[in-house]
Structure formats: structure tokens, C-alpha cells
């Protein structure tokens, strides 16, 4: 009889905090600057330098803890994690070990289930090493990222499938973005995921030997990587082999987990309390202040969108799916106070275009500009169909909607004489459909209307055209 295995997965997610400066020095916390330009003696690990804790980083860690239902410790302790690597200037990383800032908590999976957390701790990011192709003996180090504040969110090993790991990450990212703790940009490494994966025979409770899977740099990589690692382990176990405790790296191009250099495994990090930083003490007042400044969480926002803007539950859900979209919507409505139309436009043309562009990011259009377009449409200056063309042009060019309407010649035509001419031409060009309509086939009206709109290049005012078309058809009954 074959043994069936179940996966035991724990995730370690590193989230860069959205602070203005680094965690222990005054250098800017920013992605994309030229290498080694956001550095100072402190984050370069020069002799004699000392860390000074960024208060904002602490607040954001607490905020994350609040959003995820953690216990916030009134006293936590920083510790040195010792290892040598060129992108770690001090030869140790300042992290937290046995007394992290948050304990417990959970991440909802979105279907009523949730995954328990072990802890959240504060630490500093390391720099980045580059091993350029053809660089010969040389490697390069960029220390801009060194000292960027991180929280590491550690789940209990209670995730059972790659699918659940995926949901965990999606929901965690959403909460971190919502609370403005982390911008969630996995491509830029603001959010990074490592997975501990082991298998055990179904029905048993002892944990199998785990491997650590690193470099899961996207949702997709997380799912595929864990799936592949589970499959790899299952194959070994069913073949009678044993799993080696090792660190694997997900090779997204080849779609396989690859063992990292075995040296990486034997680390004794020799954690000990960081003597340069006193224990982090959090008063009740401080915790209250952080709680009071807490941004609205997704569930609360969805409910508010229903009550405040009268949106349907489904629409409110879509619009609050990401904090960015929700914020965009609210800004549009602030300038164009017709929430239903704004919601329709976002859920329709806006999200459709976003999807076509295959991004999760907002389209490059300011909410104020979209509000202007919707106002033009509402005022009759442009038809909804032409409005969509203007919107696409706005995304393309970044120009103002009023200018684009003129530039593209998309002013709405409401003039009876001009429209009647178009209607007459369309009816003359489609005698079959006219006959069908007159024979009782009402549906043909839609087709004819479409032809009329096409002939006006979307500019015809539907409010004028619809009765005009019907009247012209009726007139043909003679």
C-alpha cells in the first residue's frame, strides 16, 4: 500500500517598512537610487558607529501586529545575528530573537479560514550582491538597501498546500498595503517570501525534515515553487529516500528548486542581545497612539463603501480589493460626487484596461483627471462611448480629458439635423435589418443603434439618438 503524504508549510515573509529613513540611521529608504548613494558611516558599518532606532519603524511594526491580531510585547529585545557576507557591513544583522515585538496573530485566507502566526520581529535589511556575468573574479555590492527597516512575519507550520500559501501571501500583502506598512512590491523586493516545506505521512503528527525554499519573488513563484518542492520531496520519499535539511533556491526560469551552496546550512548565528540598543519598551500610551492612527482595514472599508456610497456588496468588494484602488475611488468621488457612476466606470473600462495591461498597479491616470472626464460625460459634452476613447488616450498620453475631447474631435453630437442625416444613411444601408424590425424583431434595434454610433464615431448623444432611430423606423411602416 502506498503512503500518502501531506505537506507542512511555514512561511517567512520579509516586508520592507514604508518609513522615510532607514531603521538605524538617517539615510533615505528608497528603491532605485544609483548604487551606494543612500549610505552613511552607520549603514556602511564604519568603525565606531552606533545604531539609533527609527521610531516610525517601530510604529509600523506595531501597526502590522494590530492588523494581524498579534500580542504586542511591552518589552522586546534586539539581538545580533552573526554571519559574514559582503552585503552585511557589520558582520551581524540587528534583528530580534527570543523577545520579538509581536507574538501570535493570524492571516485570514479570505474563505473563513486563517493561518496562525508565530511572531513578527523587526530587523534591518542587508545590501545586495551582484555577480556580473563576465565579471571574472569580481562581485559588486550595493549597500543602499542596507539598513532598510524590515518586519519578518513568521507563520506557524500549519499551511497544507501551495494554494493556501498563495492565499496567505495575497491576503497578507493586502493587509500590509492597506495599513501602509509596506508597499507590497514583490518585483522590487519590498515583500519577499521564504517557505519551510516538509512532508509527513497523512495521519501522523511528527514533522518531517524540512527544506527552506528561498527566492519566491512573486505570488506565482510562491505557488509554483512550493508545488515543485512538495513534488520533489514526495518523489524522494516514495522512492524510499530521505530528505536532506537544506536551503533551496527557486529557479523561476527553469521552474525547479535548486540547492544552495551547502555551506549556507551550517550556520550558528550566535544570537545575543544587542548591547548598542536598550530593550524596546512600549508604553500603553504609545500602543494606544498607534492604534488610534491605524488606517481602515479592508473589511471595515468594504462596509463603509456600502453605507457611505450606496454601493452593492460585490462592487464595494472589488473597489476595496486593494488599498490603492479604494483610495483612487474615493478621490474620484471627492471631485465627482456621483459614486455609482464612478464605481461603474472603475469596475468597467478602468479595470478592463488595467487587466489588458497585465498589471496590478494603478493606471497612470490621476483620480482628479478621471473625475473631470466623468463630469464632462455627465454634462453631455462627451458620450459614454467617446468617453472610453478619451480615457484610453488619457492613459496613453497623460493629457487632460477636455483637451483630448477637442484634439480627437469627440465632442458629443446632439444636433438633430446632423444626427437625422446619419440615421437616414444607416437605415438606407441596412434594408434587411429595417425589414426585420418592421416584421416585429425588436432586437434589431440594438444592432442599428450600434451602426449609428459607429457612424458618429461614438459621438452621437444616445439620449437623442435612441428616440430618433425608433421614430425613423416607425415612420417606415407607412
Amino acid at each position: 500500500m502506498t503512503t500518502h503524504y501531506e505537506a507542512v508549510i511555514g512561511l517567512e515573509v520579509h516586508a520592507q517598512l514604508m518609513t522615510r529613513t532607514k531603521i538605524f540611521c538617517g539615510c533615505e529608504n528608497r528603491f532605485g537610487a544609483p548604487p551606494n548613494t543612500l549610505v552613511c558611516p552607520v549603514c556602511l558599518g564604519m568603525p565606531g558607529v552606533l545604531p539609533v532606532l527609527n521610531e516610525r519603524a517601530v510604529e509600523l511594526a506595531i501597526r502590522a501586529g494590530n492588523a494581524l491580531g498579534c500580542d504586542i510585547r511591552s518589552r522586546s529585545v534586539f539581538a545580533r545575528k552573526n554571519y559574514f557576507y559582503p552585503d552585511l557591513p557589520k558582520g551581524y544583522q540587528i534583528s530580534q530573537f527570543d523577545q520579538p515585538v509581536c507574538e501570535g496573530g493570524h492571516v485570514p485566507l479570505g474563505d473563513g479560514r486563517s493561518i496562525e502566526l508565530t511572531r513578527i520581529h523587526l530587523e534591518e535589511d542587508a545590501g545586495k550582491s551582484f555577480h556580473p556575468e563576465g565579471g571574472g573574479e569580481h562581485s559588486l555590492v550595493d549597500l543602499n538597501r542596507c539598513g532598510v527597516p524590515l518586519i519578518e512575519i513568521v507563520s506557524e507550520p500549519v499551511i497544507r498546500s501551495a494554494e493556501d500559501a498563495y492565499s496567505y501571501l495575497v491576503n497578507l500583502k493586502r493587509i500590509l498595503e492597506y495599513t501602509e506598512v509596506c508597499d507590497g512590491n514583490m518585483e522590487q523586493g519590498s515583500l519577499r517570501c521564504d517557505a519551510n516545506v516538509s512532508l509527513r505521512p497523512v495521519g501522523t503528527t511528527t514533522l518531517g525534515t524540512k527544506t527552506e525554499l528561498k527566492n519566491l519573488n512573486s505570488f506565482r513563484a510562491t505557488r509554483l515553487g512550493i508545488e515543485a518542492e512538495i513534488a520533489r520531496q514526495e518523489k524522494i520519499l516514495t522512492g524510499g529516500g530521505t530528505i536532506r535539511q537544506e536551503t533551496m533556491q527557486w529557479d523561476a526560469d527553469r521552474g525547479v528548486p535548486v540547492p544552495m551552496r551547502s555551506k549556507e546550512e551550517a550556520h550558528d548565528y550566535r544570537y545575543f542581545p544587542e548591547p548598542d540598543l536598550p530593550p524596546l519598551l512600549l508604553s500603553q500610551e504609545k500602543l494606544r497612539a498607534v492604534r488610534d492612527a491605524m488606517p481602515e482595514l479592508p473589511d471595515a472599508k468594504r462596509e463603509r463603501f456600502q453605507t457611505e456610497y450606496g454601493l452593492r456588496e460585490y462592487d464595494a468588494g472589488v473597489l476595496t480589493d486593494s488599498a490603492q484602488l479604494a483610495r483612487f475611488f474615493e478621490t474620484v468621488v471627492k471631485h465627482f460626487p456621483h459614486a455609482d457612476r464612478a464605481a461603474n466606470f472603475l469596475m468597467g473600462p478602468y479595470l478592463r484596461l488595467q487587466k489588458e495591461q497585465e498589471g496590478d498597479d494603478l493606471l497612470p491616470v490621476e483620480p482628479e483627471a478621471l473625475a473631470q472626464l466623468l463630469a464632462l460625460e455627465k454634462g453631455g459634452a462627451v458620450s459614454p462611448a467617446a468617453g472610453r476613447q478619451v480615457f484610453e488616450a488619457m492613459v496613453r498620453t497623460g493629457k487632460a480629458p477636455a483637451d483630448l475631447v477637442k484634439e480627437l474631435g469627440l465632442e458629443q453630437i446632439s444636433d438633430d439635423g446632423a444626427l437625422q442625416t446619419v440615421v437616414d444613411e444607416v437605415l438606407a444601408a441596412n434594408p434587411e435589418q429595417v425589414a426585420e424590425f418592421l416584421g416585429g424583431k425588436e432586437k434589431v434595434l440594438g444592432f442599428l443603434m450600434g451602426q449609428v454610433m459607429k457612424a458618429t464615431r461614438g459621438k452621437g448623444n444616445p439620449g437623442v439618438l435612441t428616440p430618433m432611430l425608433r421614430a425613423s423606423l416607425e415612420a417606415k411602416r407607412g
Partner: protein
């Protein structure tokens, strides 16, 4: 005025009166340095004459226009070379930092400069402040101005020797387990280790971060108080810096001490204490007696245990603190290495001296998985108990008096291959570091009429004013030693 003996207060008065100029101080210092350095080797770097004279002239001009308020203005100060200074090398006495130039000034340097002091140069030390003899410097030992065959103590041996020889008016040192007080005692000068957190550590190349403090070595207690007042104070760039206003130690220096109760630990008179040192300290206590309320015996039962506890805590911290010297960004890098690991090993293997490597290994071991509880954690427990012992002792006394060192200065080379004996030099000084207390060593006479000895005072945390006040009164009874006769300008042999 004899500039080899004059106090800062006297010099400042002469500068104010116009009978002396800062340029005279620079000339004196450079002349004496030129004469004595070949033998003493207290300095790793003396700043160039032009820069010093330019700054001295600026200081004199500022004084003439009434722009000088600090008594340190215009006075050249020597700096231990583990304190970062712009414009000079900062080597920590190590090959691995040969020629290293700091991009910033330590907070204490900023403060000295703000007070108008001139930075004279950088003093020799045991590599990374690890040692009790200054023999562990990668750039050769410093000799004791009282006897060139003997060590000046350490690790601030260069700072102590520079002051003792009259080359410097005052100097900064650092004290992790006695590194200011022990060399001060062995060279016959005053050495103050302030309360942990009183003087900013920013810019001090870390050895044992939870123990290190910067402090002055000086010709007299009043000078030490002046320098202490100038460098103390909260520094928001040092998270371990205390945010406590302690007030000026100078202001209360001469207040009466007739209500002060002095505790003397019974454990002071134990095994290993040189008979001459004991006699000298007892005689000093006899002289203090009439000035204070009472002298009583107290107990510090863990004095002996302070040595192993210290050598675990300090080395554990050092093992991490010294990881940054990896050849990647600055300092020495071995160019022969073919791989990263090899580069680390060869750079650190060649860059660090024997004692530093010994302590990195010790500390690494103390933190290793499986040993952490037995070594590091246990040492931390002892450390807490020692602090508790002091707290209990200070319920019955106001200051504690004890020897500064178990012996006078020992011959160069005698203990260098015997670390356990060497570590015992810190027997009387370590406990103050473990408990974070302020402590001072002042001269209490000569051993066999040739070698200086020191007596030590400790006070509760942040009680520098009390500590310095008692020390000042005691010093008045004991007298200062002045410059060793053998090197004095008239008749001394400088070889």
C-alpha cells in the same frame, strides 16, 4: 610656568592673562614629543606643526577678541587611537586599520573642538583596547616614562604615558575593564572612567559595547573634572547614552567631604596584592580618614568572579564588534586570496594580532550554540549579581576605595605570553565596568621610591561629582607625582 607640570586651570589663567599663548603650548608639546617619543612611543600620530600652530593662532586670536569661554580653549589634547578623528589616521593599534581615515569625528572630539581644544595626535594602545600593557599594539609597545624597561599599563598606555611624560596636558582614553585607571595608576596620573552612558560612545571603536566608556587621563583631579565636564552629556546618536543632567563636576569639586562614608572592600586585601601596593593604599586611607565621616569595611564577594565574567561578556561582544573588519570596505585586504572565504581568513589572520584573535575565539565560543547558557548567560548572571552587590554596598557607604592595580608596572615582556596573569591586572577595576559605575584612579605614592601606584575610588552611577570631590580632597592629602625625575627637562636622560 613649568608647562610639564602646570594644571589646565593654571594654564587657562595664564592664557587669559596673556602671559602665555596657545602657540607656546603647541611649541612645548612638539618639543617634548620630539625629545621623548623615541623612547616612550606614546603616540601613533602627532599632527603636523603647521596645522597645530594655525589652530593655536586662531585660538589666541579668538581669546583676544573675547570669544573664548572654555578652560580647554587652545589646549592640545591627546586622543587614544580607538577614537575616530577626521584628519588623522585612526588605527585602534591594529594592522587591519593601518592608515584608516575616519569620515567623521567621534562625539567626544566634536565636543572637545567645540570647547576650543586642539587635537594633538593619536595615542598608542593595545590593539582594539585589548590588553593591560600596550604591548599588544601592532605598532610597537609604549614604555613607562618612570622606567623604560616597564610597561605603562594598558590599554590606554599611550595616553597615560603622554600625560605622565609631560608631552600632553591631558588625554582621552577608553576603559572597558580598567584601561584608563590601570595605566593611570602605573604611570602616576589621574584616570577617570565615567558612569556607563555618561560620555557618548559614538566614534569609539567598540570593544565591549556594554562596558566601554571614554574618559580623561590628567595631571590632577581638577583637570580630569574639566575634561569630563566637556565631554559628558546626552548624545541622541548613542542609544545607550543616558539622558540625565548630572551637572558640572567642577562646580562642587571643593565642597566639603566631612559627611562622606568610605567603604573599603575586605576582598581588596586578598591574594595577589603586592605588599608594597597594600602598604601604600593603607597609608593613603589613613590620610583620607580624618577628612571623611568614616571608613568602614564592606563586602564585594564576587570581586574575584568579576574576571571570568568580564572576559566572557567583553569577548562575546568583541567577537561581533570586530566582524566588520572583513577586508570588504576599508582597511587591510589580502590580495592573494582566490575566494571570498579565503579573503576573510587571510585578511583577518594577518590583520589581527594574537591577543585580538584569542579574544575573538573566546567570545565566539562563549556565544556558540550549546555553550551560550554555560558561558555568556552565566557571565551575565554574575554581572547582575555584582551590580546588586554594589547597590547593597552603597546603602552603607557613599564611595568605595580600593587599590587600582595589584602590582606596580611590570617589565615589558614579562606577562605577554601569560594571558591569565595579564588578565589579573584588571582585578580591581573590572567590577566598575560590569556594574557601569564611575571610578577614578589617583596617584598614592611610589613603590620602592621608583614606580607610581594608584588608589581607586568608585561611586554610585551618575555620581561623578561626588567621586571627583572625594578624589580631589584625597589628592590634596597625597599630592601629585609630577613628571618622572629621570626625564625632566633639566638633567633627565631622554636617551
Amino acid at each position: 610656568m613649568d608647562l610639564t607640570r602646570a594644571t589646565i586651570t593654571e594654564i587657562a589663567a595664564a592664557l587669559d592673562a596673556g602671559s602665555l599663548a596657545s602657540t607656546d603650548l603647541v611649541e612645548h608639546t612638539l618639543r617634548e614629543t620630539g625629545r621623548l617619543e623615541p623612547e616612550v612611543h606614546a603616540f601613533l600620530h602627532v599632527r603636523d606643526r603647521e596645522s597645530l600652530l594655525r589652530e593655536a593662532k586662531e585660538s589666541d586670536a579668538a581669546r583676544r577678541s573675547g570669544g573664548v569661554t572654555s578652560p580647554l580653549a587652545g589646549i592640545p589634547v591627546a586622543i587614544k587611537d580607538n577614537i575616530c578623528t577626521i584628519g588623522t589616521p585612526t588605527t585602534a593599534g591594529s594592522r587591519i586599520l593601518e592608515g584608516f581615515q575616519s569620515a567623521y569625528d567621534a562625539t567626544v572630539i566634536e565636543k572637545l573642538k567645540a570647547a576650543g581644544a586642539l587635537i594633538l595626535g593619536k595615542c598608542n594602545l593595545d590593539e582594539f583596547a585589548m590588553g593591560s600593557s600596550t604591548e599588544n599594539s601592532a605598532y610597537g609597545p609604549t614604555t613607562n616614562p618612570w622606567d623604560p624597561a616597564r610597561v605603562p599599563g594598558g590599554s590606554s598606555g599611550g595616553s597615560a604615558a603622554a600625560v605622565a611624560a609631560g608631552m600632553a596636558f591631558t588625554a582621552l582614553g577608553s576603559d572597558t575593564g580598567g584601561s584608563i585607571r590601570q595605566p593611570a595608576a602605573l604611570t602616576g596620573v589621574v584616570g577617570l572612567k565615567p558612569t556607563y552612558g555618561t560620555v557618548s560612545r559614538r566614534g569609539l571603536i567598540a570593544f565591549g559595547s556594554s562596558l566601554d566608556q571614554i574618559g580623561p587621563l590628567a595631571r590632577c583631579v581638577a583637570d580630569a573634572a574639566l575634561v569630563f565636564d566637556a565631554i559628558a552629556g546626552n548624545d541622541p546618536r548613542d542609544a545607550t547614552s543616558a539622558d540625565i543632567a548630572t551637572g558640572s563636576a567642577c562646580d562642587t569639586l571643593h565642597d566639603s567631604i566631612d559627611t562622606i562614608r568610605v567603604g573599603v572592600p575586605r576582598q581588596s586585601w586578598g591574594e595577589g596584592l603586592d605588599a608594597g601596593v597594600e602598604a601604600s593604599v593603607r597609608s593613603a586611607l589613613d590620610q583620607l580618614g580624618p577628612a571623611v565621616a568614616e571608613i568602614t569595611a564592606i563586602d564585594l564577594p564576587l570581586l574575584e568572579a568579576s574576571i571570568p565574567a568580564y572576559y566572557l561578556v567583553a569577548t562575546a561582544e568583541a567577537s561581533a564588534n570586530l566582524s566588520r573588519f572583513d577586508g570588504v570596505r576599508y582597511g587591510l585586504r589580502d590580495k592573494q586570496a582566490g575566494t571570498l572565504d579565503e579573503m576573510y581568513k587571510r585578511t583577518r589572520g594577518h590583520g589581527f594580532g594574537t591577543e585580538v584573535k584569542r579574544r575573538i575565539l573566546l567570545g565566539t565560543h562563549a556565544l556558540s550554540s550549546g555553550y551560550y547558557d554555560a558561558y555568556y548567560l552565566r557571565a551575565m548572571k554574575v554581572r547582575r549579581k555584582i551590580a546588586d552587590d554594589f547597590a547593597r554596598a552603597f546603602e552603607t557607604c557613599d564611595v568605595i576605595a580600593l587599590p587600582a592595580t595589584p602590582t606596580p608596572a611590570f617589565p615589558i615582556g614579562e606577562q605577554i605570553d601569560d594571558p591569565i596573569t595579564m588578565y589579573r591586572n584588571d582585578l580591581y577595576t573590572i567590577a566598575a565596568n560590569l556594574a557601569g559605575l564611575p571610578a577614578i584612579s589617583i596617584p598614592c605614592g611610589l613603590h620602592d621610591d621608583t614606580l607610581p601606584l594608584g588608589v581607586q575610588l568608585m561611586a554610585p552611577r551618575f555620581e561623578e561629582s561626588r567621586l571627583l570631590r572625594v578624589a580631589s580632597h584625597w589628592e590634596a592629602k597625597l599630592g601629585t607625582l609630577g613628571r618622572p625625575p629621570r626625564i625632566s627637562a633639566n638633567g633627565g636622560d631622554a636617551r
